[in-house]
């Protein structure tokens, strides 16, 4: 049975899942085409480098392809795919964390060099790095916690379960990660080597979100 490539684009996600389970060879590919960029963003940000992200995404999609019959329709297809990709990424993070020796010391100069090759870290002009490059400088466990909590909006308790650690550990990883990202992402700020300018940059977005999980005492 062949499918008209234009026709398949009009089918909704649930319909594509049903077709895939029913043996339509094009249905899953169309699902991937639709949601790939979203899933890629999650994988790249969580893992911090494109090679690992591609590995994890491939593994996750093959997994999803094979386990399509386990999709019960109780969540959106995108949510289901997202979860499978997050799990594949977390698997890798946990394995990386099990390895000894954190390769990145807490050294802002080194972080900057890694994040923006060619940039001179002594250059005092504020360099706003792109978010992915900044995330890439974090240790894997901190990065995964922060991406899931701050970018993916996954509740802290769920992240703790995914990462196999305590809620407090997730919060602590997020806190340390935010402190490390601040000099990379916030203009006019370098950790330690200069004070904030007298007038706080009014362009910096005022957080409407309280830092997740942080109950003000």
């Amino acid at each position: 049975m062949t499918t008209d490539p234009r026709e398949i684009r009009t089918v909704d996600d649930d319909g594509l899942m049903r077709r895939h389970v029913g043996g339509d060879p094009d249905a899953f590919g169309e699902l991937v085409r639709r949601h790939r960029d979203r899933l890629w963003a999650v994988a790249l940000r969580t893992l911090g480098n494109p090679d690992d992200a591609a590995d994890a995404l491939q593994e996750a999609l093959i997994n999803a392809f094979r386990r399509a019959t386990s999709y019960r329709g109780d969540a959106a297809v995108t949510t289901w795919l997202h979860r499978i990709v997050v799990n594949a990424c977390i698997d890798r993070v946990r394995k990386a964390a099990a390895r000894p020796a954190n390769p990145l010391p807490d050294d802002t100069g080194r972080m900057l060099r890694l994040a923006a090759p060619g940039a001179d870290p002594s250059d005092a002009v504020a360099t706003r790095l792109d978010i992915e490059a900044a995330l890439a400088t974090l240790p894997p466990d901190q990065r995964a916690a922060l991406v899931l909590v701050d970018m993916e909006g996954v509740p802290v308790a769920e992240v703790a379960e995914l990462l196999g650690c305590a809620v407090g550990t997730v919060k602590s990883r997020c806190a340390r990660a935010r402190a490390k990202l601040m000099p990379l992402l916030v203009p006019n700020r370098r950790a330690g080597n200069r004070a904030a300018p007298p007038d706080v940059p009014s362009t910096s977005p005022k957080s409407e979100l309280a830092p997740p999980g942080g109950d003000p005492q």
């Binding site: 060879p25 995404l57 999609l61 698997d91 330690g192 999980g213």
Partner: protein, 262 residues
């Protein structure tokens, strides 16, 4: 390092409510009177806000798109015309054996099952005869020698599991062997995925290690290729084609296709 101001990490932990009572009180008191540290705290909060506001998608690089497409094509075992012809012709050759094996199990029930699982000694001959007598009804266009084939094949299939470990029987045809090798290679490449339980019921039933599983249409319809590792020789694997991940041996469409890995 400026002394007299709070560390960013301390402020970040304070925002998460992670500090002890005394330290939290100290930080609060300092924030009350220090504009610079208040600015740091605001910047920390803005990090979370920036992350939350980042685009939900990033363009997948072209080489990753290609790679995913290829991997999914393998998983889907799609039908480029020539490959399909090869696969179908392989299946036609094997069809009598498959049907006979099904008949063995179906008609002789438990006796057939005993024979195919190897507990049955002499029964296996009976099983093979039973299968030969029970001509499969829906013949594929397997040709005139189908009867003889199916008798021989039934013997083979009834006996195959008995001798599965000695390597004399059921060398997989090249097309299936290739698929089996792909499964093995993927499992070697990828990390072990504890959650990947496709084929596990079969592996447990056979008492063999599960190497991996993949979608296949080698039998002409969507099915699952399960690869099990020989307990005698880790360089030998067996491919089974079953209708779904949870299937066990009695639902198998193709059994014990032997492949030696290099």
């Amino acid at each position: 390092m400026t002394t007299g101001h709070l560390e960013a990490s301390q402020l970040a932990e304070h925002a998460e409510g992670l500090l002890g009572v005394d330290e939290a009180a100290y930080v609060e008191a300092h924030l009350q009177q220090c504009e610079i540290c208040r600015a740091t705290a605001a910047d920390l909060a803005s990090v979370s806000a920036m992350l939350a506001a980042a685009p939900r998608t990033l363009p997948t690089p072209a080489h990753v798109v290609d790679r995913l497409d290829r991997a999914l094509a393998v998983a889907a075992a799609p039908e480029p015309e020539p490959a399909r012809v090869v696969q179908l012709s392989w299946f036609r050759r094997k069809a009598p054996q498959l049907l006979a094996a099904a008949a063995t199990v179906g008609i002789l029930g438990f006796a057939g099952w005993v024979a195919t699982t190897g507990a049955g000694g002499d029964d296996s001959e009976d099983a093979a005869e039973g299968a030969a007598i029970a001509e499969p009804e829906e013949q594929y266009d397997a040709g005139a020698e189908a009867g003889a084939d199916s008798e021989r094949a039934a013997e083979e299939s009834a006996a195959a599991p008995l001798h599965a470990e000695d390597g004399e029987l059921s060398a997989a045809p090249p097309e299936l062997a290739d698929e089996i090798r792909i499964v093995v290679a993927q499992e070697q490449d990828g990390d072990d995925d504890a959650a990947d339980t496709c084929g596990l019921p079969l592996a447990e039933e056979r008492g063999l290690e599960l190497v991996g599983a993949a979608a296949t249409d080698v039998t002409g319809e969507p099915a699952v290729l399960v690869v099990l590792r020989s307990s005698a020789d880790p360089a030998v694997v067996y491919g089974w084609v079953v209708p779904e991940c949870d299937a066990t041996g009695d639902e198998a469409l193709v059994t014990d296709q032997r492949v030696e890995l290099d």
